[in-house]
C-alpha cells in the first residue's frame, strides 16, 4: 500500500515554463482581476440605484434555501439540463480546488501537493471530475445547438465563446497532464486515467522533445483562457456563479408567498409602482443579474403557452439590459422597456417563480409595473377600468351582476353575524367572497358548502352584506389605491365584529385574509374549505353514501397550491368519495393556471392567441376524466368555459365542479347531523 500511495508522489509545478511566461501569466491575471473588478463595480452601481430591502430576517430559512440551490436541488428539478449543469458545476469546483492546491503549494510554499492527497485528490478525483465537466459540456453543446429548445436564450457569439472557453480550459488541462506524463514517464500516471490515455495519444503524435517544447505554450493558453473567462464573467450571464446563490439568499424566504408590498399613500412622495430603477428595491435590481437565461420560466408560463405577448424571461432580461444600458435614466419601464401588452398578459400564477432555479421573483416586478400603469399613467385595459369603477361604486368586481350579495343564501338557515360576542359559540365565520355572491354558477359552491357545514353540525355565521371584495383583483391589476381602501374597510369590519377564525372557499380571498391583510392589522386564522372539510371528514363528522364511481382529475388553483401550499387536502377528500382520481401531467406545484388569475377573470387581453382555459381543459380531458374538480370559483368558471371549447375528438364531455359539490352530492341524507 505504501508503494501505491507513495509519500514522495507529486509533480513539478510550472514544469519547463520560462520566467517570462510566468510574468506574462501573472500580468494577465492582474489585468483579468482588474477587468473583473470593474465589471462587478458597474453592476454594483446599478444595484445601488434601488430602494432599501429587508434581507436579513429568517436567516435560517434563507441559508437553507441557498444551500439547497448550491447543492443543485432547484436546478435538478429539470432532468437533462439539471444533470448537465450539475456535472459542470461540481466538476468546475473540483478543478478550481485543484488550481487552489497548486497556488497554495507553489505560490504560498505550503507543500500540500504530495503523497496520498496528491494521488487521490489532485490526480484521480480531479481527473474524473474533469471528465464529468467534459460530459456536461457535451450535453450543453448538444442541447444548445442540436436540440435547440425554444425557451433557451441564444446570444451568439457569447454563448459559444463561454461554452467553448470552458471546454478549451478543460482540454488544455488534460493536454498539459498528458504531455507531462508522456514526456516525464510519470511513475504515478495510472492515478490520472484521463491524463494517461491522453499521454498515449500524444506520444503517438509527437516525440518527447516536441511535447516538452509545446508544454509551456499549452500552460500559458490554459491560464490565459482562465483569465479571459474571469474577466468576461461580470459582463456575461456567467456572473450568475456569484449572483444566483446570493439571489436565492436574498429572495423572499416565505412562509407567505406572493404578498404584494403595500404602498404608503400618506407618504409625502408616494411611489406609484415601478417605472424607473429607483422604484425597484436593490434586491429586485440584483435579481436581474442572477438570471441564467435558462428559460424555464418561459416554458411554464401559461400566457406564453397560449401565444400571448409575455415571456417572463424576456421581462427579466429586457429590464436587465435596459437598466444596464441607461442606468438611473432607464425608462419608462412600465409600458416602455416592457410593453403594456406583456404586463397585462400575466395571470400572476407564480409558475415562473416556482420553477426558477435561482429564485427570481417575476410577479412582483410585473405587478409593480402594472401599479405604475394603473395609478400613475391611468393606462389600463378598458375592462380593468370598468372592473375598478365597479369596485369603487359597488365594492365588488362583477359588472352587470344580476344578484345581490345575499341572494345565494335565500332559503338557507344561515346566521348573519353582527358580532362574535352576540353570535355566541361559533366555530368559524364563513367568508363568501364576491364570486359566490354575484356569479350564479359559483353560488352553487356556497350552497354546497353550507349543506356540508349543516350536515356536520358546524356552528358558523356569515357577514352577509357587510362583506365587500377583498380587493384582490384591484391589487393584482396594480390598482393598489382601490385595494388599500377595500382592505382597510374589510379589516375594520372584521375587527369590529371580533372575527378571528375564517373559512373561505375562494383561494384569492384566502391569500388576502390569511397573508396580505396582515400589513393592515388583520391577523386571522384562515382555512380553505378543502382543509376544513377534510378535517371534518377525518373527525368522522361527514357521513357519505356510496355512489357510482366517477373518473375525476384535480386542477390545483394557483392561489391555493403555489401560493398557499395546499395540495393534499382536496385530494384526500376526493379519495374518500366514490371517485377514481387521476392526475394531469402538470399538477400540484407545477399546475398550469386556468387563466383567471391576476384579475384576468374580469378582462380578456385581446392580443389573440389561444385561451389558457382551453389548454387546461384539453389537458384535463386527456386524462380520460369526465369531471375536472377544483377548489376555486374562478378556476371553475374558466374550466367550464375551456370545456366548452373541446371537440368530440378531444374526449367525452367534461364537467367542471368544485370538490365540495361532490361532497354535498354524496352526503348520506339518512345520517344528517354529526356522525
Amino acid at each position: 500500500m505504501n508503494d501505491v500511495l507513495a509519500a514522495e508522489a507529486t509533480r513539478e509545478v510550472q514544469w519547463e515554463v520560462t520566467t517570462a511566461m510566468v510574468v506574462v501569466m501573472y500580468a494577465s491575471m492582474g489585468i483579468a482581476l482588474l477587468v473583473f473588478g470593474y465589471g462587478i463595480w458597474r453592476l454594483f452601481r446599478v444595484w445601488r440605484l434601488g430602494r432599501r430591502a429587508a434581507v436579513w430576517n429568517r436567516l435560517g430559512a434563507r441559508l437553507r434555501r441557498m444551500l439547497a440551490a448550491i447543492a443543485q436541488a432547484t436546478v435538478l428539478r429539470r432532468r437533462l439540463p439539471g444533470f448537465m449543469h450539475a456535472l459542470i458545476f461540481y466538476g468546475w469546483w473540483v478543478l478550481l480546488g485543484a488550481t487552489c492546491v497548486v497556488f497554495i503549494d507553489h505560490d504560498l510554499g505550503l507543500r500540500i501537493m504530495q503523497g496520498a492527497f496528491y494521488l487521490v485528490f489532485q490526480s484521480l478525483i480531479v481527473d474524473l471530475f474533469g471528465a464529468l465537466v467534459l460530459l456536461g459540456l457535451g450535453i450543453a453543446f448538444y442541447r444548445r445547438y442540436v436540440m435547440r429548445p425554444q425557451q433557451l436564450e441564444h446570444r451568439e457569439p457569447a454563448d459559444a465563446l463561454l461554452l467553448g472557453s470552458i471546454l478549451l480550459i478543460v482540454l488544455t488541462g488534460f493536454a498539459l497532464e498528458g504531455i507531462r506524463i508522456a514526456a516525464t514517464d510519470d511513475p504515478w500516471a495510472n492515478w490520472s486515467p484521463i491524463g494517461a490515455v491522453t499521454s498515449l495519444s500524444l506520444g503517438r503524435l509527437a516525440n518527447d522533445a516536441a511535447l516538452t517544447r509545446a508544454y509551456p505554450w499549452f500552460w500559458l493558453t490554459h491560464l490565459l483562457l482562465w483569465h479571459v473567462l474571469l474577466a468576461a464573467l461580470p459582463f456575461t450571464k456567467f456572473v450568475h456563479v456569484f449572483t444566483s446563490p446570493l439571489n436565492v439568499f436574498f429572495s423572499d424566504p416565505g412562509p407567505a408567498k406572493g404578498v404584494v408590498e403595500p404602498t404608503d399613500f400618506t407618504a409625502e412622495a408616494v411611489r406609484l409602482g415601478i417605472n424607473a430603477p429607483a422604484d425597484m428595491t436593490w434586491r429586485q435590481l440584483f435579481s436581474l443579474d442572477a438570471c441564467t437565461e435558462c428559460g424555464r420560466c418561459e416554458a411554464v408560463c401559461p400566457a406564453h403557452a397560449a401565444g400571448k405577448p409575455l415571456s417572463p424571461k424576456r421581462v427579466i432580461l429586457d429590464l436587465r439590459d435596459g437598466i444596464r444600458a441607461a442606468g438611473a435614466n432607464a425608462g419608462p419601464l412600465a409600458g416602455g422597456v416592457i410593453a403594456p401588452e406583456a404586463l397585462w398578459a400575466c395571470t400572476t400564477c407564480r409558475a415562473c417563480e416556482e420553477v426558477c432555479p435561482v429564485a427570481i421573483e417575476h410577479v412582483p416586478l410585473i405587478v409593480g409595473m402594472r401599479q405604475n400603469l394603473a395609478m400613475e399613467q391611468a393606462a389600463v385595459p378598458t375592462r380593468v377600468g370598468e372592473m375598478v369603477a365597479n369596485l369603487e361604486a359597488r365594492e365588488h368586481p362583477f359588472r352587470g351582476a344580476s344578484s345581490g350579495r345575499t341572494d345565494w343564501m335565500e332559503g338557507l338557515p344561515v346566521q348573519e353575524l353582527d358580532s362574535i360576542e352576540e353570535a355566541g359559540d361559533l366555530d368559524v365565520v364563513y367568508w363568501i367572497g364576491c364570486a359566490a355572491a354575484f356569479d350564479e354558477r359559483a353560488q352553487q359552491i356556497a350552497r354546497a358548502l353550507v349543506s356540508v357545514l349543516l350536515h356536520a353540525g358546524v356552528r358558523f355565521a356569515v357577514l352577509a352584506s357587510k362583506e365587500r371584495c377583498t380587493g384582490d383583483p384591484a391589487r393584482r391589476t396594480g390598482n393598489e389605491y382601490h385595494y388599500d381602501l377595500l382592505a382597510r374597510s374589510n379589516v375594520e369590519t372584521l375587527e369590529g365584529a371580533g372575527v378571528t377564525r375564517i373559512l373561505t372557499h375562494c383561494p384569492h380571498c384566502l391569500q388576502q385574509l390569511r397573508h396580505e391583510y396582515r400589513a393592515f392589522g388583520g391577523r386571522y386564522e384562515v382555512v380553505h374549505h378543502s382543509e376544513f372539510v377534510s378535517s371534518l371528514i377525518e373527525q368522522g363528522r361527514v357521513r357519505l353514501a356510496p355512489g357510482a364511481r366517477e373518473r375525476v382529475t384535480f386542477h390545483d388553483p394557483c392561489y391555493l397550491g403555489r401560493y398557499n401550499d395546499v395540495f393534499e387536502a382536496p385530494r384526500r377528500i376526493l379519495d374518500v368519495l366514490p371517485t377514481e382520481r387521476v392526475e394531469m401531467p402538470r399538477s400540484r406545484s407545477e399546475s398550469f393556471c386556468c387563466g383567471a388569475g391576476g384579475g384576468h377573470a374580469f378582462y380578456e387581453d385581446d392580443d389573440g392567441g389561444e385561451k389558457i382555459s382551453g389548454i387546461r381543459a384539453r389537458e384535463a380531458a386527456a386524462t380520460g376524466a369526465t369531471t375536472v374538480v377544483t377548489g376555486c370559483p374562478f378556476c371553475l368558471t374558466m374550466l367550464e368555459s375551456g370545456a366548452r371549447t373541446l371537440t368530440a375528438e378531444q374526449g367525452p364531455p367534461l364537467r367542471a365542479r368544485d370538490f365540495v359539490e361532490l361532497v354535498a352530492d354524496a352526503l348520506d341524507s339518512k345520517g344528517s347531523g354529526p356522525a
Binding site: 394603473a374 377600468g385 375598478v388 361604486a393 359588472r399 352587470g400 351582476a401 389605491y481
Partner: protein, 270 residues
C-alpha cells in the same frame, strides 16, 4: 373659455329589477336600497368636457351638481379627472321631481359663476329619463341648444359638434354660447384618472350653496315648478316559464313552433 358640466347622481342602475322598490311616501326608492352613482350620460358629458379641456377648446371646467350631501362623491370624481372647480347645490332629496325646479337651481348657480360659454349636460338623467334639464337651462339662458352630441372640435376657428340624428350622425357648426346635451359613445367612456389626481381631489375644496343662498327658498322653488308627481309605482310583471322538452334541437324547434301557434303568438303560412 369656461365650460360648466351639469352632473347628477342616480340610483345604481345595476340594482336587480326584482329588488327595486318605491317608497310611496317620498315617491322615491327608499334610502340605502343601492349606492348612488354618477349617471351614465353625465359621465359622458364629464368626459367630453375633459377632452375639450385637453384639446384646448375650453380652458376651465366647472362641475355643477344639485343633490344631497352624499352626492359630493360625484364632484370628487369630477375633480379627480381634472375638472378645475366643483360646485354643490345641497338639496336634501336625491333630486327634485320637476325638472323645471332643477333647471332653476342650476341656472341660479351658473349665473353666479364666471360666465361660461358652454354648458354640457347628460342627454337625460338615467333614473327619471325626463331629458329636459339641459334644454330648460338653455331656454332660460336664451342660448341655442344641441342635443345628443358625442363629439366637439374646433376646426378653422369654428366649433363643430357631431350629434346622433335620425338618419345617422350630423355635424353642426355652433355659435357660442350654447348648451349641449351629451349622448353615450365609445369615445366618451369616463376615464379612470390617476391616483395622484384622485388623492388631490380629496383635498380640493368644493363650493357648496344652499337653494336659499341662490335666492331660491321653498316658495320660490315651488313657484318655479310646473309639474307635480301624482303617483309612481313599479309595474307588476308576470312571468310564466315553460320548458319545452325534446330529444334533439329539430324536435325542440318543431314543438316550440306548435306551442307558439297554440298561444296565438305566431301563425305559420298554410
Amino acid at each position: 373659455m369656461h365650460a360648466v358640466v351639469l352632473l347628477k347622481q342616480i340610483l345604481d342602475w345595476e340594482l336587480p329589477p326584482r329588488k327595486f322598490r318605491i317608497d310611496q311616501e317620498t315617491k322615491r326608492p327608499p334610502d340605502g336600497l343601492a349606492p348612488a352613482l354618477l349617471g351614465p350620460f353625465e359621465q359622458n358629458a364629464l368626459e367630453l368636457a375633459i377632452q375639450l379641456k385637453e384639446t384646448g377648446v375650453v380652458e376651465r371646467v366647472t362641475a355643477l351638481l344639485a343633490g344631497p350631501p352624499g352626492a359630493a362623491d360625484a364632484l370628487r370624481k369630477a375633480l379627480a379627472v381634472r375638472c378645475d372647480d366643483a360646485v354643490h347645490i345641497v338639496v336634501e332629496a336625491p333630486d327634485l321631481h320637476d325638472p323645471s325646479q332643477t333647471a332653476e337651481l342650476l341656472l341660479a348657480a351658473i349665473r353666479r359663476l364666471e360666465p361660461p360659454e358652454l354648458v354640457l349636460a347628460g342627454r337625460q338623467a338615467g333614473d327619471w329619463d325626463h331629458g329636459q334639464v339641459g334644454h330648460l337651462v338653455a331656454e332660460r339662458l336664451r342660448w341655442p341648444v344641441l342635443g345628443l352630441v358625442w363629439q366637439v372640435e374646433r376646426i378653422d376657428g369654428r366649433l363643430l359638434a357631431w350629434r346622433s340624428g335620425v338618419y345617422g350622425s350630423e355635424q353642426f357648426a355652433v355659435r357660442l354660447p350654447a348648451v349641449m346635451t351629451v349622448t353615450s359613445h365609445s369615445s366618451l367612456r369616463l376615464r379612470m384618472g390617476n391616483v395622484m389626481d384622485l388623492m388631490a381631489a380629496n383635498r380640493k375644496p368644493i363650493t357648496t350653496w344652499t337653494p336659499e343662498e341662490l335666492g331660491l327658498g321653498p316658495e320660490e322653488l315651488a313657484a318655479a315648478g310646473r309639474l307635480e308627481l301624482a303617483d309612481v309605482w313599479v309595474p307588476e310583471v308576470e312571468r310564466h316559464c315553460e320548458l319545452i322538452e325534446a330529444e334533439d334541437p329539430a324536435e325542440a324547434v318543431a314543438a316550440l313552433l306548435d306551442r307558439l301557434e297554440e298561444l296565438k303568438l305566431l301563425k305559420r303560412p298554410a
